[in-house]
Symmetry: C2
Subunit: 326 residues, 2 copies
């Protein structure tokens, strides 16, 4: 049996698991990132010890680990393995994470963006069930995205930044987005957008059971208990999401669109209005054939995708392609 | 020297040319489609005679033609070679054009959508100069699109319909689109949208030199002569186009975005506001690195792309990939 170590380096937690070529997961581990302590602390006191602990456990169980894959919540160059100013890892700047890890681990290492690897995991063992092209949206504080095309290859785009679905405009005069644009999907369909919508309703004096300063998870609970404001908030976010999904379906003609990330835990509260709006807006071929599904792999999606990358999925003659594209 | 015959079957005209592997074009021909006469007439009295005339000319000049490529203005299945209800070829319905041509020509034949092949031509010998990923928008009565990824492979999507950039929503409450959606790029950045904007300005009584019922070409002329309404119309269409280009740049992270089709002949009138809005809205990496350019190949883009397809570009282990994607 072939095994890889998958690692997911996020701003809040670092997760790891041993993943086999069959999709078995063993020794799932999680530690807080302690991102505020800065780069050296995260690397030397959190990430490396976690990796070493996982590899030790593998050794003690007689499991041979072939390689390590790391999913990073950051813009990055997957070819050189350089991360660029991860927004939730303060003080990292431009950092050559891949060379750093290769020097310290006596194993092959690969890194990629967490949303790309989430898409890879869902393609192989999740909602995609091996069907490509597959688009993935990770709905959380922000919105990320990943694209997997035929034979499980990640679409990196020209500069390693493909799949920024959070910054697809659905309303050109819409609310301002953190990126400087207006009416981006991220400004209108993220957990942050949901929370802002509820806050504004409360400020306008609407009656609701939702406590002030509520997070998406509280709003989902209130919606399940029948709270009008919470239900409307999900209708609004779901509709916006559906507009974006229809645009992406028309542009890419994928086989599957997978919705993941924390907000996707709202389940049908989000999926129902999103799919209904998608069906109202997509071209007929896409409406009939593109499947919109909730993610299956949950919070381990990035870890599993990272292990798949380490096992050789996701890339195809990588450097060669890169060179030819010049 | 290797030669192919490229053919572009549109609703108004059928064009053909002999194209060499070096990009030389010989024997450029064009006949009216006479689409209103129905499918059999177009096939037997227009398309086949044009192809046979071109092949005869090649023979008489001692040029060996390897294969025939046909660009069709229609949704189609590029694998089976079946066209589905071409909107500007009345009475065609669902028609197996590839098998039909293969039976009648003693040469290998390939067919694909005209916007895809326009993108392929621009990638190889046009504004793309061999750089991928490349996105192409064909701006005319409607808006089509094509995607070329690494090594000149066309992105067909799951069902042969990738690249429908005309139906990317930029304003979810915007004007209705022919597709049934609202605020699509096609409803806000096509020649038709430009003409509608001018018509509505005229109906509101604005003073302009533009004659009633003017087409895009007349509006461009008036704009060059300094007409205020015409200039504003191009500002509006260009801005809308820029919103769409920014969304596509963020989603795909391409190297180049190429603007073609009749409306692109307006040149800087369109490009200047489009690029300026793109730069205001795209993520910083895309803003700095994605190149937005006017097409180079003009009205022969489809013919040249079709010849490239016949010469073996655009597809990669086509049926194999298709099968694996299940």
């Amino acid at each position: 049996m072939r095994w890889a170590l998958g690692v997911d380096l996020g701003g809040t937690a670092i997760k790891a698991a041993l993943v086999s070529q069959e999709g078995d997961r063993e020794e799932v581990m999680e530690v807080p990132t302690q991102a505020w302590m800065g780069r050296d602390h995260v690397l030397e006191k959190r990430l490396l010890p976690l990796i070493e602990r996982a590899l030790q456990r593998a050794r003690s169980r007689g499991m041979k680990v072939e390689a390590v894959g790391v999913a990073v919540a950051s813009p990055l160059d997957p070819w050189k393995g350089v991360v660029y100013h991860p927004p939730n890892l303060p003080g990292w700047g431009v950092f050559p994470l891949l060379p750093y890890l290769e020097e310290r681990l006596y194993l092959p290492v690969k890194i990629d963006n967490d949303a790309n690897l989430f898409a890879l995991g869902e393609w192989k063992w999740g909602a995609g069930q091996g069907h490509a092209p597959l688009l993935c949206l990770t709905l959380g504080t922000g919105i990320g995205g990943g694209i997997v095309y035929h034979r499980g290859i990640i679409w990196h785009g020209a500069h390693g930044a493909g799949g920024e679905f959070g910054h697809v405009t659905i309303d050109m005069e819409g609310p301002p987005c953190n990126c400087g644009n207006r009416g981006c999907l991220e400004a209108m369909a993220s957990a942050t957008a949901l929370e802002r919508w509820v806050k504004e309703s409360q400020e306008r004096g609407r009656t609701t059971k939702i406590p002030p300063g509520a997070k998406a998870i509280d709003i989902a609970r209130a919606a399940r208990e029948g709270d009008e404001v919470a239900l409307e908030a999900f209708q609004w976010v779901g509709k916006n999401l559906g507009v974006g999904i229809a645009a992406l379906a028309n542009a890419f003609d994928p086989r599957v669109i997978v919705l993941g990330g924390g907000l996707s835990k709202a389940g049908m509260l989000l999926l129902e209005p999103a799919v209904s709006e998608f069906e109202r807006r997509a071209l007929s071929l896409q409406r009939e054939r593109v499947k919109v599904r909730l993610a299956h792999l949950g919070h381990l999606g990035g870890v599993i995708g990272a292990a798949l990358l380490a096992l050789g999925e996701g890339l195809e003659n990588h450097d060669k392609v890169r060179e030819e594209e010049g």
